[in-house]
Symmetry: C2
């Protein structure tokens, strides 16, 4: 047998090279560059969507990818029985419909939560453009890869955190997503009902409401005057600390 151990586990070799610089670039720059490249080389169809409008539907034939240029969207997976599960929230720069590539049909439905703009790209057109422009292919791969990682994070939260921390982590990740896009991350206007948040996090709407009230009581968030849907996060790190604390309450 060949000695392939180095190939399988190069990291086990001591003195491995330091991490590559890809991660250093600010995310906002990455997203802006990506959108610009797509805009330049693919001339995507631009389409304005409004709150509640479907972008693509589960079961529908796969032909296009959708790239969010503005606004935000929610992705639902629906089981054969009635079960409906929100599996992801998407923001500017995120790609929608990637789940349809494998078998030629979308497996999830996507709905706009805001008014925003989606760029529509035919998958075949993307592939042919990519053969001229390898950067486009890298973009597609990076986006798919990121989507795999991101959704694993959700699973982690849902499986390992108690209700309160799950809600806190949800807010933290939302704020993070805004931050990555160069938006202010200390205030959020949630376009989701408590019931939807609950569905996403595997909780009931009452539990979500209670958790938010508790976070407010602890001064980790505060609600705006009138609308209980927009809230402020005075200290994002304190929110992260709250999550940590509930993970290892014994250690600190």
């Amino acid at each position: 047998m060949l000695d392939t151990s180095a190939a399988v586990l190069p990291a086990s070799t001591p003195g491995a090279p330091p991490p590559a610089p890809e991660r250093q670039r600010p995310a906002a720059w990455r997203i802006g560059e990506a959108m610009s490249l797509i805009g330049r080389t693919l001339a995507p169809l631009r389409h304005v969507v409004h709150e509640g409008e479907a972008i693509c539907r589960a079961g529908q034939r796969f032909e296009c990818l959708y790239i969010l240029n503005s606004g935000c969207a929610k992705i639902f997976s629906l089981a054969g029985d009635g079960r409906e599960q929100m599996v992801s929230v998407k923001f500017r720069g995120d790609w929608l419909g990637l789940d349809g590539i494998a078998d030629g049909h979308y497996t999830c439905s996507t709905v706009a939560m805001d008014t925003g703009e989606v760029w529509i790209v035919r998958y075949q057109a993307l592939l042919s453009a990519a053969s001229m422009q390898p950067a486009l292919l890298s973009l597609l791969h990076a986006e798919m890869s990121r989507q795999i990682s991101r959704e694993r994070e959700s699973l982690m939260s849902v499986c390992t955190l108690p209700a309160g921390a799950r809600v806190a982590e949800f807010l933290r990740l939302w704020a993070d997503s805004l931050d990555e896009r160069g938006l202010r991350n200390d205030q959020i206007t949630l376009p989701l009902s408590r019931a939807e948040i609950g569905n996403y996090l595997g909780l009931t709407l009452e539990t979500v409401s209670r958790s938010l009230s508790k976070l407010a009581r602890c001064k980790l968030i505060s609600f705006a005057e009138r609308r209980r849907r927009d809230l402020q996060i005075p200290d994002i790190d304190a929110l992260a600390a709250y999550v940590q604390r509930s993970v290892a309450p014994t250690l600190q």
Copy 2:
């Protein structure tokens, strides 16, 4: 504004064409063809792994993709704090390490649960081969897409099912995976401890054990003579029905 509604929502048009035939082919055929293509065109390094051996580690620099030719593997995501979450189980034909493409480092660790063979492909080599052989690119995309869909299914189970059904669904999906690979799906040898299953499903090991005992009491599964880790599934549909029942206990 352009009228792009047809492009955004072609399915809303009545009389859409019937589903494409991609899905009809038996999965075993698809997987076999894929492995054969990879073997022919990429001459991947073949490496035998044993139980407990790491295939790739979180944080390690991304360079290779790993394709399981035999055996099975588990994927772990690890948070900054101690939390460790099993996020996926992989079988023959599945690709490992796709999460590393986005930022140049793997975000998860993968460990063999069996002795098996992984095929090792440098990502760059795959890309250059793919520019000659578009089928290879399709394979990569299909596999990433499938991984996105699959892991959404996990989230669905974990968020919407009670403990007993979650365990039943886990077994059902495992049997399905065997079936897709042309193996017999009426008996499973679990290479996972109760604790690991619990971690995967967001349950404690005691709850997993109780759920399995209950499934056995209901004759939906039965244990082998000595080892409580290999079990038989006399009727896979009955197991599916059990899951359904606990989703909508009022309706039937």
